[in-house]
């Protein structure tokens, strides 16, 4: 029992460390691609690490007091790290025994809710506009994530993410899971806060929205959480919806997963670069359509396709 606990704990640490330490690198790569498409040289790939370090070293200024407000950055990053432990990232999800995809969905929504609360807690009109936008985005995007994952659960007859992934590997691609995967990918753009859906931050309109009052170490934690979140979600997409080709050799499979995750992040960046920002009503209309389409995946799953 003790050995099992220690082993699980270490595996959890591995996932958490990967999410923490590799996410700035991924962000750096994404910035570099963005720069290339802009005809710019761009910052070095390691720049996000320096950004985090610099912000962590700054004075901690708070616009309002209160325990909740003080704890929100840590809560945001913490929820993303718990999510990292619940999601298979190249290995089986280390914390899978603690919760299935219902828990995953709740934990995934937590960071968004925490950012929203931060905005409402800071007394700025821009922050409260940003937070209400964040809330609308959460309400539009969460159902899509849920529907897409439930399709998998329905097919594999299990609520465990690992179970769905294994079922996928054994049974190969299906129409319903492909539709679900595409819907999940489209939602990922909003989850990562990338254009055309960075509406709640919208620098040029509301100057960072919920995060307008955040600076120094607090901002560092929020940024770090966002980067880690996009990486974890990319892993979730790849492991659950696109686990092939599966070679059976652990190292090769890990490598294949990493390559696929990078492809997903590159696609996210390209979409980000070639789009202007949508208005919140336009984005909600768009996700409404995506949501309705993803119901088709559920229908296909019911008839066994």
């Amino acid at each position: 029992m003790t050995v099992w606990l220690i082993k699980s704990f270490l595996l959890c640490l591995l996932n958490v460390a990967a999410a923490l330490l590799l996410s700035p690198l991924c962000e750096g790569i994404m910035r570099k691609i963005r720069a290339a498409l802009h005809s710019r040289i761009g910052p070095p790939i390691t720049q996000p690490y320096w950004d985090i370090l610099k912000l962590l070293g700054k004075e901690d200024l708070r616009s309002t007091g209160g325990v909740v407000y003080a704890g929100l950055p840590a809560l945001t990053l913490g929820s993303v790290l718990v999510l990292a432990a619940l999601v298979p990232m190249g290995t089986a999800a280390p914390l899978a025994f603690a919760g299935d995809l219902i828990v995953v969905l709740y934990v995934a929504a937590m960071s968004g809710v925490a950012i929203m609360l931060t905005g409402f807690a800071s007394a700025s009109p821009y922050a409260s506009i940003g937070s209400s936008r964040e809330m609308m985005m959460l309400l539009s995007v969460e159902p899509i994530l849920a529907i897409a994952l439930v399709v998998g659960a329905f097919k594999a007859r299990t609520l465990a993410l690992g179970g769905i992934a294994n079922w996928q590997i054994q049974n190969g691609p299906s129409i319903s899971m492909l539709i679900g995967g595409v819907a999940f990918f489209l939602a990922l753009q909003a989850v990562a806060g990338k254009l055309p859906f960075d509406i709640s931050e919208a620098d040029q309109e509301i100057m960072g929205g919920p995060l307008i009052e955040q600076s120094g170490p607090r901002l560092a934690l929020f940024r770090w959480a966002m980067w880690a979140k996009q990486l974890v979600f990319a892993f979730l997409l790849v492991e659950v919806f696109f686990p092939w080709p599966h070679f059976g050799n652990y190292l090769i499979d890990l490598l294949a997963t990493i390559v696929k995750v990078l492809v997903v992040l590159v696609l996210v960046t390209v979409i980000d670069v070639v789009n202007p920002r949508l208005r919140i009503d336009q984005a909600m209309g768009y996700f409404m359509r995506v949501g309705v389409s993803s119901l088709a995946a559920l229908a296909f799953a019911v008839i066994g396709k």
Partner: protein, 564 residues
Amino acid sequence: MTITDQATVTQVEEVVAARSDSAFLSGTQPHADTLHFKIEKRAMRAVVEGLVNELQARFLISVGTDTRSVTGQFAILHLFSLDREHLYVLLESPVSEEDQRIESITDIIPGANWAEREFRDAIGVHPDGHPDPRRLLLADDWPEGVYPLRRDFPYNFQPPPADNVRPQMREPPAGASVVPLGPFFPVLEEPSYWRMFVEGETIVGCDTRLFYNHRGIEKLGESVLTYGQIPYLAERICGICGFIHSSCYCQAVEKAAGIEAPRRARYIRTILLELERIHSHLLWLGIAGHIIGFETVLMQTWRIREPVMWLCEEISGNRKTYGMNTVGGLSRDLHNELKPKLLETIAQVEKEAIAVRNAVIGDSTLHARTKGVGVLTNDWAKKICAVGPPARASGVAIDARIDHPYAAYDELPPQIATEEAGDVWARVVVRISELVDSIRLVREGLAALPEGPICAEIKEAIPPGRVGVSVVEAPRGESVHFVLTGGDNRPYRWRVRAPSYPNLQALPAMVQQANIADVPITLGSLDPCFSCTERLETVDRRTHEVRVYSHAELLEMSRRHRRT
């Protein structure tokens, strides 16, 4: 150069005479395209109504002048343009020192709102019945009853400092909250303060305070500088369309003095004016992209823009602020050896500009963000006297290059681009069409560049009391310069009206009932002019000591600096 129809002149004279009746004082034609009427102020409203209703005259600007040293009275002058007839009409009324009031015309012409508030602030003539009596031009801590453009006001006078003053702003309607934009805001490159009254994300009204960067340029021109020095100051009015202002000033003085700039100078002016339009429109397109988060457009258009700046540097020695204009022509020639290089660069810019045009025109997400957004109706565009691309995008076909040809535009006619929709997208389309047309004009201008002198010889001093009106189509719309010549080798009155002046007045109607997310791009689509801001933090390079100055300290420092 301009073709003025004698029948039109007679018609205008008849309208003015009929409407003013016994209040008619005099009527002159100081220049072929300029009619100057003096009427008593009691008839001003009637004559303005006649001009607007019967002749479709377009209001340009009001000029308040302190002519007490000459006539013993103030003079208020409303300047109109008859675009189709290529004619300027000046309506002047004397206002006595005892009764410093004149009836407001803002209810007839909504676009006269700021112009009237400005002469009230600067000269002290009160527009009776004006709907908005608040300050426009003067700082909030400026003392009451001190009028900076009066002749007895010294240009270097410093009013005593006042603390705890605030702009007079309107209260939001019941149930609405305020979202401030500015005075400093990410997408406002100049300080301007907008207060949006919102219900949810919908705008139900707005209020504004501007003129944070007022630099007293007109006063300097009238009291310190000479005719020959003012072009360099005029060029510094704007960081983007500086050459437009210096050209406009020089043309106004040339008209007043009866000087004709040589043909080669007029061609080179045209080429530089069009180069300015090219780099300004490319800059604007990038900023518009940036405002809606489309950084790729920003990066690519500014990359294309760079060679145009190099061209300007090749021609003038500077990327911006060329310092080439002088009264009577130019002080620096465009060397013929540069021509092949210029043509080559322009061809490359054209290729890339067309690629950008095709990419932008076909982008469906851009359509989603700009179509039906920030609509300026044709009717309101005319009433508020909008100019330039915002006017043309609302179906008002005015372009100073065609309506009042100057420089070499009579020989190099531009193609006017108009749209009917009046939304942000229409303004994008108009500017992109103009960008491509300007490239053609530069190419044709270079090919047809005549030989000859670049500056007219000015043999005698410019006589006082002459009037000159000049209009130049800047990238943002027409700039208007009015010059009344004086003694001492400097203008008695020099009035500048930049194109953003009327266009910004159109914004409140454009954002009514809009989403807060659409405000930045709507404001941006007017292409308001930029200026620089002050630094707030200093770092001592030897000790690396950082010092942050408070508002009070900065205020004190700037006051000390101005005194010394």
